[in-house]
């Protein structure tokens, strides 16, 4: 789940973390490649850096991230991270106005955007390769040279409130936001990334500056650059631009682990939509949990690809689900699996019951041909191999998008707490059918879930 600054450009689907994380983990856990295309180091001020040569197109992609998201807010500041991210991107610095930043970005042929999530804030820029120095300097200036007056905050608030309206009009964004809130009651993850309207409306410049001073510091920062450059040259440039920043330690991590949902919750909204939407959320392992690999494969096997398993598990009710999708959000303090459906509005209650029962039964499912005795395996679908191959497919696709690659590298630099995580695809390759049953039991067996349905309002009935 993340909020993003403006539509257009190379948008990524909201809320889907699994694919984006794959290549980063793959890259970082493999060490420097034999051909020297990768380079990882830490600046003296604590900024973690990863560089990756991708020389198929004359573009450079730079992503700067901070361990600062909605998890770092309180009820009284819910929405500040999101508003700050807007202001950093569009409202200028100590030396340039927001309009000047926008004009500079445009003059250099750059695309820039940002995303706020539960855990992180990331700021991305993509530019022609000849503009690599501009890309780095621009990101450093807007992020470490941030300053803002109240009038600018007031101006950006209105844009943020428009974004609220847009999110609430979009059944998919709205349902995802509500499901995550319901899934983590009492935990910082239970606050909407978009925040509370009244907090945003009342926000002061000093609130933003205080949040920025506390969390947008070098010890809390990672930089990734991917593109058409020689890694040695880019290292020099990164050291020149980001090296002189003063060292500031990251604040201590404050959020506790997100516990399991104690009681299922269900919420129904009526909107002017054409069909019915059902979103189910289940608590899942977090980013540093060794079970994440099995959950990734499970999610792929259940709801993605040519022939996902979940419709088959719905048995007699399979025809009432018009579409099925699954997503795994591997957050630092606890993850979520979100299963979403399109269905005829009148079928939504039955679908929720059938889907939850089916997902509970996933702990007993046969995922591999080897789960079947004798000749029966020859005629069975191998959901295990399918899920693994879909992860490989996603990794291959991620190789093609420089911005996505850089964003996932930054995400890994900031979220990973393991000393030596395994190579991602190696770990995926070791997942077996019993691991999937164990993961399904962990995520779905208790049945506690958060459900949000959005159906047409009375005017459309």
């Amino acid at each position: 789940m993340h909020a993003q600054r403006y539509r257009g450009g190379a948008d990524r689907p909201a809320g889907v973390a699994a694919a984006a994380a794959i290549i980063a983990i793959l890259a970082l856990s493999s060490g420097l490649a034999a051909d020297g295309r990768e380079r990882a180091f830490v600046l003296d001020n604590g900024i973690r850096v990863f560089l990756y040569e991708k020389r198929d197109l004359p573009l450079v992609h730079v992503v700067v991230g901070f361990d600062a998201g909605s998890k770092d807010e309180t009820d009284a500041t819910s929405g500040i991270a999101h508003l700050l991210e807007h202001c950093v991107l569009f409202r200028g610095t100590t030396t340039r106005s927001g309009a000047a930043v926008a004009a500079d970005v445009r003059r250099h042929g750059a695309y820039f955007n940002a995303h706020t999530g539960l855990d992180l804030s990331v700021f991305e820029v993509s530019a022609p390769a000849a503009e690599a120095a501009f890309a780095l300097r621009n990101q450093k200036d807007i992020l470490f040279g941030f300053d803002i007056a109240q009038a600018e905050v007031d101006a950006e608030k209105e844009v943020v409130l428009e974004e609220f309206d847009q999110m609430e009009d979009d059944p998919r964004l709205r349902a995802t936001d509500l499901v995550l809130q319901a899934l983590f009651p009492g935990h910082p993850y239970g606050r909407s990334v978009y925040g509370r309207r009244e907090v945003v409306a009342a926000a002061k410049a000093e609130d933003l500056l205080a949040f920025h001073r506390r969390l947008f510091v070098t010890g809390n920062c990672a930089v990734a650059a991917v593109g058409d450059f020689a890694a040695a040259d880019m290292e020099g440039l990164v050291r020149e631009v980001f090296g002189p920043l003063p060292k500031t330690e990251a604040p201590a991590v404050s959020a506790p682990p997100a516990g399991p949902l104690k009681k299922s919750v269900s919420r129904r909204l009526e909107r002017d939509v054409e069909g019915g939407y059902l979103y189910l959320g289940f608590a899942a392992p977090g980013y540093n949990d060794s079970d994440q690999y099995a959950v990734n494969v499970l999610v792929e096997a259940l709801g993605r690809g040519v022939n996902p398993l979940l419709p088959a598990l719905l048995r007699g009710e399979r025809d009432i689900a018009q579409t099925v999708e699954t997503a795994y959000l591997a957050n630092r303090h606890g993850g979520a699996v979100v299963v979403s459906f399109r269905a005829d509005p009148k079928d939504i209650p039955a679908l929720e019951r059938a889907a939850v029962a089916s997902l509970k039964s996933a702990r007993n499912a046969s995922y591999s041909r080897r789960d079947f005795p004798g000749q029966a395996g020859l005629f069975a679908f191998d959901y295990l191999e399918s899920g693994k191959n879909q992860v490989r497919f996603a990794a291959g696709r991620a190789d093609e998008s420089g911005l996505q690659l850089a964003a996932s590298l930054v995400r890994h630099l900031l979220l990973n707490t393991r000393e030596a995580p395994p190579r991602y695809l190696d770990a995926i390759g070791r997942v077996d059918s019993s691991d999937l049953r164990k993961a399904a039991a962990m995520v779905f067996a208790r049945g506690e879930h958060a459900a949000v349905s959005i159906v047409p309002g009375k005017r459309r009935k």
Binding site: Y6, R7, G8, A10, D56, L57, P58, L59, F90, G98, A99, V101, A102, V105, R106, R107, Y111, F112, S126, P128, A129, A130, A132, A133, A155, V159, V160, L161, E162, D165, Q166, E168, D169, D170, D228, F229, A230, D233, M234, E235, G236, L237, E240, V273, E274, G275, V306, N307, Q322, R342, S386, N389, R392, F393, G396, R397, D399, E400, S401, R459
Partner: protein, 440 residues
């Protein structure tokens, strides 16, 4: 690790990039067109950025080729071309994680086979049997129609997509280019099995279809696979589907009622058919008006605080283009937003662009173009689209030159001729009693 002096490193980086930019535009490997032994053309580009292959099979025809009253037929026929007749084939593709997708545009439809390159031959073996001779049974047609109805609902739930559909429908009177890709409930019901079979027989022929492929594999390998597994297309004449010209609608105001917090307000113009020059001019106009921070519409967000989403959108067909400028605003602000949007567009029309603004737009347009074609699947689509609309696949390399050739005088003349605010189609999607259309 050896450290080089910092200034030298930065200079080396910039010099290397500039040297690359000064050579042939952008692509390390130039795409090439050949003809397979089966007679099917192949546009091929090798790209080792990932171990993936995307094969696009393009079928000229598209919405323009659909008979009156059968809206959705091209989509339905293309969707059914991917129907796998038995579970063994489903199982094979599933295990390999190969993806079969399709799209239907104004002038063509296409199917895409996207896979790990190691699985390419296995994927083509299955697809090569199915696509030329798909199983089009009544139940399969019925299921595909249900999926189209669902997709049409999703499209209607997206105000920007709904606004775009309304623009095409108005300029082409709801026919051909202006028809709905997914059809209406009535048109879907009217489509019979014979219609689908006839459409498939007419357009999925060896004289009409062509391939575009981007892969890390060498061309000879892929060519061999395609010749081996796609020899089953029947012959036939090349269907003549005229390129329709847009017509100015009698009523320039279109309103779609939707109970929502936000109102979509759009302005749309029909553009001249896409020659390389007009394609470049249209692309520059799109960037100038609504692509990202610093565009003309950006101030409606940053200064006027009217919207979160402001933008421009350009679509091309053989006979024309359509450029839309739009914003989504809180419904209480709709009246003021209409006035500001029209004022901004009128100022562009009245005063044109400066040389500096044009240079920035050129840089932005070229970089945006590269970003839009970075992934293999998007580049494959671009090859096919350029080929069908008459620009030719080579335009992926020629685009930079065409953009650089546009002068401020050219572009201002184009804007004066084409983007007259008084002749713009005015589209509103939102609550019925908005202030849209009242000015402000």
């Amino acid at each position: 690790m050896t450290r080089r002096p910092v200034r030298a490193a930065a200079a080396a980086l910039a010099a290397a990039a500039l040297a690359a930019a000064a050579g042939p535009p952008a692509w390390k490997e130039q795409p090439r067109k050949t003809v397979l032994t089966t007679g099917l053309p192949l546009i091929y580009q090798q790209d080792e950025a990932s171990p993936m292959t995307v094969v696009g099979l393009f079928v000229p025809g598209g919405r323009a080729a659909v008979p009156e009253g059968l809206d959705g037929l091209a989509t339905l026929a293309t969707r059914l071309a991917l129907e796998l007749p038995d579970e063994d084939k489903v199982r094979d593709l599933m295990a390999q994680s190969t993806r079969l997708t399709f799209l239907c545009e104004a002038d063509f439809s296409a199917v895409f086979i996207e896979c790990l390159s190691e699985n390419l031959e296995a994927a083509l073996r299955v697809a090569g049997k199915v696509i030329p001779a798909p199983l089009m049974s009544g139940p399969r047609i019925g299921r595909a129609k249900e999926m189209m109805a669902l997709a049409a609902e999703s499209e209607a739930d997206d105000a920007v997509a709904a606004g775009s559909g309304a623009a095409a429908s108005s300029f082409f009177r709801g026919r051909g280019y202006g028809s709905s890709g997914y059809g209406s409930a009535a048109s879907r019901k009217a489509i019979g099995r014979k219609d689908v079979l006839d459409f498939h027989r007419r357009f999925f022929t060896s004289t009409n279809v062509f391939f575009a492929v981007v892969s890390d594999l060498d061309r000879g390998t892929v060519q061999g696979f395609l010749e081996k597994h796609f020899s089953g297309f029947p012959g036939g004449g090349r269907p003549d589907v005229p390129a329709a010209a847009p017509a100015r609608p009698a009523d320039l105001e279109v309103r779609l009622a939707k109970e929502a917090k936000q109102t979509y307000i759009g302005r749309a113009w029909a553009l001249p058919a896409p020659t390389p020059g007009d394609h470049a001019r249209g692309s520059l106009a799109e960037v100038l008006i609504g692509r990202g921070p610093g565009s003309r519409l950006w101030d409606l967000r940053a200064v006027e605080r009217l919207a979160y989403n402001v933008g421009a959108r350009l679509s091309w067909m053989r006979g024309a283009g359509i450029l839309e400028a739009f914003l989504e605003t809180g419904s209480s602000k709709a009246g003021r937003a209409v006035g500001k949007l029209d004022g901004t567009l009128r100022e562009l029309w009245d005063k044109g662009v400066s040389a500096d603004e044009l240079e920035a737009a050129k840089t932005m347009a070229k970089a945006d173009f590269l970003r839009s074609a970075e992934t293999k699947v998007e580049r494959t689509r671009l090859f096919g689209r350029f080929e069908v609309i008459g620009l030719g696949f080579e335009h992926i390399s020629g685009f930079f030159g065409a953009v650089d050739a546009v002068t401020a005088e050219d572009l201002n003349s184009y804007i004066r001729t084409v983007l007259d605010p008084g002749k713009a189609l005015k589209i509103t999607v939102g609550p019925g009693r908005t202030g849209a259309g009242q000015g402000g």
